[in-house]
Point group: C2
Chain length 200, copies 2
C-alpha cells in the first residue's frame, strides 16, 4: 500500500507558512513522503475559531512582530516583514491550483516564488501585475494567470480546499496532516519529523 503524502495547508499571507515552506520538502523527502501543497484562505478558518490575523491582535500582535523575524533568523531563512500585511491571496492561490491541474511541475516553484516575493522582497502578491511577473519568471504566459483566476473549476477547487481544511480540523496555518495525524505550526516540524520516525 502506498504511504500517504504530507498534506501542507497554508495561506500565502501567513509568515509562519512561508517559514515552513522552506523546510517541509526536505522533511518529506527524508521520510519518503510526497508533499501535497494545499492552498487555503485563512478567512473562513478564522471565522470558525474566532481568531484574527496575528498582527491585529492585542499583545499577540506585538509579540508576533518580534517572533516572526526571530524565528526566520533561528531557521536561517531570509525575511522582511511586508507592508501591506496581510493581503488577499485568493489570486495567488487560484494560480497555484491551476498549475496543480495544468502544469504540476511548476506548482511548487510557484508556491516558493509567491512566498519569496511577498516575504523577502515586499512585493504585493495581491496585485495581478506582480503575479504576471512571477509567472513570466517561470516561463509561463502571464495570461494563464488571468485564465486560472477566472476559471470556475479552479475557484471551486480552492473553495473545496477550505472545506477540507475545516473538516480536517485545520485551525491555523501552516498545518500538516499525515496518516491522519495533525501538526499545527512551523514549530511543530521537529515533532512531525520525530513522529514520522518513531510514531511516539
Amino acid at each position: 500500500m502506498p504511504v500517504s503524502p504530507i498534506a501542507f495547508f497554508f495561506d500565502f499571507s501567513s509568515p509562519y507558512s512561508y517559514l515552513a515552506s522552506t523546510r517541509i520538502e526536505a522533511l518529506a523527502a527524508k521520510h519518503d513522503r510526497n508533499l501535497e501543497w494545499v492552498p487555503i484562505l485563512l478567512g473562513p478558518v478564522f471565522a470558525m475559531t474566532g481568531a484574527k490575523p496575528l498582527t491585529d491582535q492585542p499583545l499577540k500582535g506585538d509579540y508576533a512582530r518580534i517572533d516572526i523575524p526571530r524565528s526566520a533568523r533561528f531557521l536561517g531563512v531570509p525575511y522582511a516583514h511586508p507592508e501591506p500585511f496581510p493581503v488577499a491571496t485568493y489570486q495567488a492561490a487560484r494560480a497555484l491550483v491551476g498549475l496543480q491541474r495544468d502544469r504540476p511541475e511548476l506548482a511548487a516553484p510557484w508556491a516558493h516564488a509567491c512566498f519569496a516575493a511577498y516575504f523577502t522582497q515586499g512585493r504585493n502578491i495581491a496585485e495581478v501585475p506582480v503575479l504576471h511577473e512571477l509567472a513570466r519568471d517561470l516561463g509561463l504566459d502571464a495570461a494563464r494567470i488571468d485564465a486560472w483566476c477566472a476559471d470556475p473549476q479552479i475557484k471551486a477547487q480552492l473553495k473545496a480546499n477550505g472545506d477540507r481544511a475545516l473538516q480536517s480540523g485545520v485551525c491555523g496555518a501552516p498545518f500538516f496532516i499525515v496518516d491522519e495525524e495533525p501538526f499545527w505550526g512551523v514549530d511543530r516540524l521537529p515533532q512531525l519529523d520525530a513522529w514520522l520516525t518513531a510514531r511516539f
Copy 2:
C-alpha cells in the same frame, strides 16, 4: 553587572506551562541564569487578547487535545489530561507567592508539586484540601496555605504579577522574558536556548 533572570510567567492550569516547567530550570542553569517563577492568572490576559481556554475553542480545542499529550511524549514528560479542566488556580498561585516571600527554598518544589498533582495525577488543585496535602508533603503546616490565601499582601502581589504580565506583553502561557526578549510557548524553548547562546 549581574545578568538578569529568566522570568517564567505561567498559570497552574496551563498544560504547556506544566511541560515548560519540567525543562526551564535546566535551561536556565545551562546559561547561568536565575529563574524567576511568576505565577499569573490567565483570565485577564485572555480578556485582553480575546482568547479562551484552548480546549474551549472550535478546531483549536480538538487539536489541543491531540497536541498536548503528544508534546508531552515528545518531551518525555508524563501527562494525563485532568478533569475538570481548566480549574481556578488563584489559591495555588497565592500559596506560591507566599512561599516566595516566607519560605523561598520551597517555592520551586511547590510549583512542581502543583503541576504534577494536576497534570499527572488528576488531583484538583482548585480544592484547598488538595493543597493542604501537597503542603504536608513538603513538610509545611497546612494552615499556612489558608493564611497565604487570605493574606492581602499576597493577593496584591499576585494581582501585581498579572499587571506586570500585561504590561510586559505576555499574551499567553508559558511566557518567558530574559534581557527584555520575549518567548511564548514551550515550543520556543529551543529558540530561547539558542538565543541565549548566540543572540541571533
